[in-house]
């Protein structure tokens, strides 16, 4: 074999437990710094927003997916391609609203919450709130304003983790002042 030992490593993969524990360390540090669940939720969403802005570029570069024609297609792409690519899980898309502008992602095994349990006294904390920020930012970069929030969370005692996405409006690229 002409390849050396180190070359056999897939440079695009990282140990999932390192990732989960790193995220846990981050949330623990935030809780120590802010001491208030709602503040931590906001910080996580903000950080998720920054990540999402860059993640969408990486996603579009790697996946060759074209523009989605409607919200249903968007939902499919998010669950089957994006979540699979970045977290290795495939959430189920369900609970479509009558108007077709709201749906839920049901996540069974959230890698962010491996080894995590919420102590009593932090019932307001949305541990995986970073996901809300990421989804919101990524969709905003592709001209969709979407409201993302947690409905159910296994850490809080529910059977499954549910994230609800609601389409608010289509964003138009703003024309710079002076050019018309």
């Amino acid at each position: 074999m002409s390849r050396q030992g180190t070359r056999g490593v897939d440079l695009r993969k990282v140990n999932g437990e390192l990732f989960s524990l790193t995220y846990g360390a981050l949330v623990a540090q935030l809780l120590k710094d802010y001491e208030d669940d709602e503040e931590v939720n906001k910080q996580l969403e903000k950080m998720g927003y920054n990540i999402g802005v860059r993640l969408i570029e990486d996603f579009l570069a790697r996946s060759n997916v074209g523009r989605c024609n409607d919200f249903r297609e968007t939902a499919d792409v998010i669950s089957k391609l994006a979540f699979k690519m970045y977290l290795g899980i495939q959430p189920v898309v369900s609970n479509w609203s009558a108007a077709g502008d709201e749906f839920s992602l049901l996540i069974e095994n959230n890698p962010l919450t491996d080894f995590v349990e919420l102590p009593p006294g932090h019932s307001q904390l949305n541990f995986s709130n970073i996901l809300c920020g990421v989804l919101k930012a990524a969709l905003e970069m592709v001209q969709m304003e979407v409201d993302v929030r947690f409905v159910q969370d296994t850490l809080k005692g529910d059977n499954i983790t549910e994230i609800r996405l609601k389409f608010v409006k289509r964003l138009e690229d703003a024309v710079p002042v002076g050019e018309d």
Binding site: R12, V14, E17, L18, T22, Y86, L87, E117
Partner: protein
């Protein structure tokens, strides 16, 4: 009845799992970059930033230690210094980063100091350090992980990250560790 059962299954009763679930490197890199930026906004100097990153790493290390020993070593802890270092260089590195560390060296001048050397470290792969940040090395995060693992396994030490032949982790053990090792 159902609610009583729910309260009884704590997370410690769940099976550990086989480990090695893999995640895209981009996900980790993006998360790590946000963490560095978060720490950067709360400190005033490079060494404070490295300390903050090291603290985050220690949080990871304390949890990783038990996980690794239970899974890899079949519940048996290392008691000899050299075996512990080899465990870190090989098993631990392989589990976390997918490959073993490049080199483990003992310092010529100081008995208590060892070096783990890696030419291209995972956490630094997507980070470029601007000139005004001087000696910042984000592998301080990994240094924190190693420090927590060593302290937790009862080999008190200080671990720091440096730019030398790539990334070098300098491990300085306490006198007590060497004294004890001579007796074992």
């Amino acid at each position: 009845m159902a609610s009583i059962n729910k309260q009884k299954t704590s997370i410690l009763d769940k099976p550990l799992g086989k480990g090695k679930p893999e995640i895209n490197a981009a996900t980790f890199a993006l998360l790590f970059s946000e963490m560095v930026q978060y720490c950067q906004n709360r400190v005033y100097s490079v060494s404070e930033l490295q300390t903050k990153l090291s603290e985050l790493g220690q949080h990871v290390g304390t949890h990783m230690l038990d996980l690794l020993f239970v899974r890899e070593k079949g519940y048996k802890r290392e008691t000899k210094l050299l075996n512990m270092l080899l465990f870190i260089k090989n098993n631990f590195w392989k589990t976390l980063f997918g490959k073993e560390a490049d080199r483990l060296e003992h310092s010529n001048d100081d008995e208590k100091t060892y070096y783990i050397i890696e030419t291209e470290h995972l956490v630094n792969r997507y980070i470029s350090v601007p000139k005004d940040k001087g000696k910042l090395n984000c592998a301080a995060f990994t240094a924190g992980i190693i420090e927590a693992v060593l302290n937790g396994a009862n080999f008190p030490a200080k671990v720091t990250a440096h730019w030398h032949k790539g990334t070098t982790f300098m491990i300085e053990f306490d006198e007590s560790v060497l004294a004890r090792d001579k007796m074992v």
